[in-house]
Each structure stands twice: as C-alpha cells, then as structure tokens.
Subunit: 202 residues, 2 copies
DNA sequence: CCTCGGGCTGAACATCTGTTCAGCCCTGAA
DNA sequence: TTCAGGGCTGAACAGATGTTCAGCCCGAGG
C-alpha cells in the first residue's frame, strides 16, 4: 500500500485507482468520497472503477485487504526477529517508523479504528492481540511488575501507544510541529518508557 | 442534552428534532443521517427541520452547542468544588458517571474527537486543558513525581482516560460486558490508579 | 368578528450518487 | 487476415439528498 505512489504512470490503472481511493478515503472518509472523485484523481472514467472492482464496496474491500496485509506483515516480522529483551523497543521503533513516514496511513487507520466497519474491528483486535502477546513475552522475561488485576494492562499500553495516532490533530495543534517527526517520536518514546517504568505519581 | 428523552410529547418539536438528531448523528454519523430520517424520528416533516434550524449545518451547530455547554458545565463544577487531594478521584468519578450513563453521548463524542470538524477540535482542546489544569493542581499539592520532560504528562493521562471511550467497541468485544458498567468502571479506575502510581515495569 | 404570525406541511426542484450498458480501441492468438 | 477478449469510455438512469416555496391550521391580539 503506497500512500503516495512515486510515479503513477508505472502503475496499472487498477492499482492507481486503489491507491488514489486509499488516499481519498483517508482524507475525506469513505462515504464522503464519490466514485467520480476517485476516477478523476486516477485519470480514469468512473465506469472503469466499477469495471475493475464491481462496486464501490468492492473497491473499499480491495483497499482494506492491502492495508491489512501490509500491517500484518510488519508485525509478524517483529515477532519473528525480536528477542524478549528488545521486544518493547523494537516494536515501538517499528510502529513509529511505519506510522511516522506515512500520514495518509495514519489518517486511514484513525478512521478505521473508530468506525464500526468490520475491518476496523479486525484491525483493533489484531493490534490488541499483538499488544497482549508483547506483554506476555515481557512478562515471561520477568520484566513486568506484578499487579492485582492484570486484565487492564494490555489496554493501558494500547491506549498510550495508540493515543498519539487517534488524537494526532490535538498533538499537532498544541506542539506546533509534526507529531510524528522523528525527534518528537524519540522524545515521546522516552517519556512513555519513563511512564511505563515508574508511573506519574510521587 | 438528553440522549434519550423520557417523554417526547413533553418537548417542543424544535427540541425533539434536536434530540433525535443528536441520537442519529451519534449512531450513524452526521453525513450519513439524512434530514428526512431526523424528521421521521421526530414525527415531523423534513421541511420543519429546515424551518427551525435554517439548514442541516444549522442543526448540527445547535446540537453541538448544547453538547459543549453541558460538558463545560460538568467540568467547571468539578473545578469549583473539588479540593486538590480529591481532585483526581472526583474528576474520574464524574467522567465515569457522565459517560457511563449515556451511551449515545459516548458515541457522539467518539465521532467528534476524531472528525476534523471544528467543534471536535474545540472539545479535545477543552479536555486537554482540563487535564493540564488537573495535573497542575496535583503538582502544586506535591502529588506528582518529577520527570525529565513534563510535556507528555497530560497527553499520557488523557490517552489512558479517553482510551476506553475511543476504543469502546474493542472493550465490549473482549470483556463481553458493558464497558461502562459501574463495576467495570470501578475495576478500571483501580487499575489506572495503580498504573499512574507505579507504572507497569518491574 | 377579523387578521396577523408562527408552527407546520406536501410537493416540487436541482444536484449528486452508485450503477448500467452499448460499444469503442487495441493486442494477441488462430 | 480474422476475430475474440479485455481495458476503457460516454451517456444515461434511478434513487437519494438538501433545500425552497406556496400555503395550510390555529391561537393571540385588535
């Protein structure tokens, strides 16, 4: 899923339509993006969009299939290659890298996670499962503090990690800089690690 | 803003339209809610909706005005009545109470916080300001641990507090129970306090 | 009594939406 | 050369949507 294709001419019309749809869905939302707008952005007739994807829903499905596949790939790679002692660091690094370089992806994810769309649910469930898995790995390595009710731990982690994505516009307004600039990400990571390590209260 | 009016007949048609619009906007989103649907739900002709509010945008504005006013009222009351030592407890208690008893409000908020709509931005900014103010109060009471970079503290708090609201469907799916049931809220509050007090790591 | 005005309606309008369809062009196989 | 097939298009259609408008009903004020 290339958010901003380098050279459209290299892509088949089908791929161009999918990519443009992805960007426009992210920017305006699916319902608010007419097939005609996608066709226009891809330099193609509206009829061709339907010709390739059957219906607008079919196009949405195709877009989300690619999205899901790409993300799954990323996360499985973390799980395969990261050892327990660096798991947390590697995971947050990869997340930052994937999200930081791709504003359109962030916007699309934001919509997906909050809308009741089934793909959004799949995605959140996936993220939650990965978080649980990561916590498990760290727990077995003895890195976690024992708590009375461990139910909420993965949620707490997920909230802190996903917060900057879900409320990106807030960050942008108040920080005045790009919320996913590498330096900002680094500072936030340090603060989060401190938070996870010691909490906030005296 | 009464999410589910007790007895519609008691309300003027204008108020009934506003309330129904609020519920339908929350459920389906603003763009996906036709004026005709609102009119139907309120037992009124579509033309009356426009007669009272000028346009659909006018209706949206009216709905959001009431929403913002109600929430502001709640939070100002906390600030007026809570002393520093109980501020955190009182705030989370009130938030839980307001949100817990009002599923439609939660849904509407979720949409507002995420959409680029100006009211959504105002609302998030307001929530952030309240969080900052609460942290300030607790800091002056000496309840906070000193950290290297305090920039991120209010965000971290906001993420953890707003998480269950933003990702309510995830909670619902995995917990199997109402995510804002009083018992669940209580358990979550305890876990959050522990998190804020000591962090997660060993 | 009349009439004025606001709540309220049905019907209509222009526009936008997803989708269909007959048919164009062009490449590659027979 | 013929011809089949897939990429592709313009025009059109049916339905939905926001909005307008002429006019209804009915209670308050003269």
């Amino acid at each position: 899923m290339t958010a901003v294709p380098a050279r459209d001419a290299d892509l088949t019309a089908r791929a161009r339509i999918r990519d443009r749809a992805f960007a426009l869905f992210a920017e305006r939302g699916i319902a608010a993006t007419p097939v005609r707008a996608i066709a226009g952005a891809a330099g193609v007739s509206p009829a061709l969009v339907l010709h390739h994807f059957g219906s607008k829903d079919g196009l949405v499905q195709a877009v989300e299939d690619v999205l899901l596949e790409t993300l799954t790939e990323q996360f499985e790679q973390i799980e395969r290659t990261a050892t327990p002692d660096v798991f947390s660091a590697r995971a947050s690094e990869t997340i930052a890298e994937v999200l930081g370089s791709n504003p359109v992806l962030r916007q699309y994810l934001r919509r997906s996670l909050l809308e009741e769309h089934p793909t959004g649910a799949t995605l959140v469930d996936q993220l939650f499962a990965w978080t649980e898995r990561g916590i498990d790995i760290m727990g077995q390595a003895g890195a976690l503090r024992a708590v009375a009710d461990p139910t909420w731990r993965p949620y707490q982690v997920l909230y802190v990690v996903l917060g900057p994505l879900l409320l990106e516009t807030l960050l942008e307004r108040h920080l005045g800089t790009d919320a996913f600039d590498p330096d900002v990400i680094a500072a936030r990571s340090r603060a989060n690690h401190d938070f996870f390590a010691h909490g906030l209260l005296a």
